[in-house]
Amino acid sequence: MMGSGITPWLLQRLSSVYLGLYGSCIAICWMGRPAPDHAAWTAWVGQPWVSLGMGLFVLALLLHLWVGLRSLLMDWVTRTAVRAALNGLLLIGLTGVGLWALRTLWRAGL
């Protein structure tokens, strides 16, 4: 299992299923509805099932981004040192995005 590449592959597939299902559900849920006001919007996001679902969505998104951008770097960046540096930057950036999303969702009532 280790080093065979099956772990990122599996993470990509599993996260894609959740991202596709949840993303489509949210899109269909808001389609055709008039734009909400601020109070209705925060109340909707503050519901436990919405904010929890969004927390999982962010987690799946980060994993999906990591695998996708990593394979992009593996294809396009041939110098090992440059690729390693970019991979490090990618991890730092994704961690930052994750913490930012966590703070936002925490404020919204996760």
Binding site: V17, M31, G32, H38, V45, L65, G68, L69, V97, T104
Partner: protein, 159 residues
Amino acid sequence: MVAVRGHGKVYNGPCSEYQNLFMGRYTSVMPARERNKAHLLIGHRPPRPWLSAASLLSSTQRWAGLFLALSTPYFLYSFDLSLRSEAGFTQVLQWVQSLWGRLWTLACVWAFAAHLAAGLRLLLGDLGLGLDREMARRSAWAANLFPWFVVLALLIGWR
């Protein structure tokens, strides 16, 4: 089976449906120098000068994915701003409802639909579905057209 060209022996042996389907993926992602040798590696016919539907789909998925990945901070910023205060919410709503905001949203929806359709096709392929040549070609066409239908439906819905 591997076709060896330029060595006095040309053998285009059978190749599995799995290789047929993912040939597009392989050829679209590799740099041109590798791409022209790809058929030697997996025993496929030489590449056509134009992109196959599977190849077009594969590169669309990659570019759409990169676009979505790069716009993740934008989505997060808008989400954060819209929740933070009444003024921030109004600001985001005004941007989304402006002409450029609508065009931008349309581009994001297109990219999401394209990435989703191509990903769904790959997932079905993992499950062993639609791997024969004809189905692979048809599903590639369908997945290529899907985002345009979504955008068209959205445009009709907005009017």
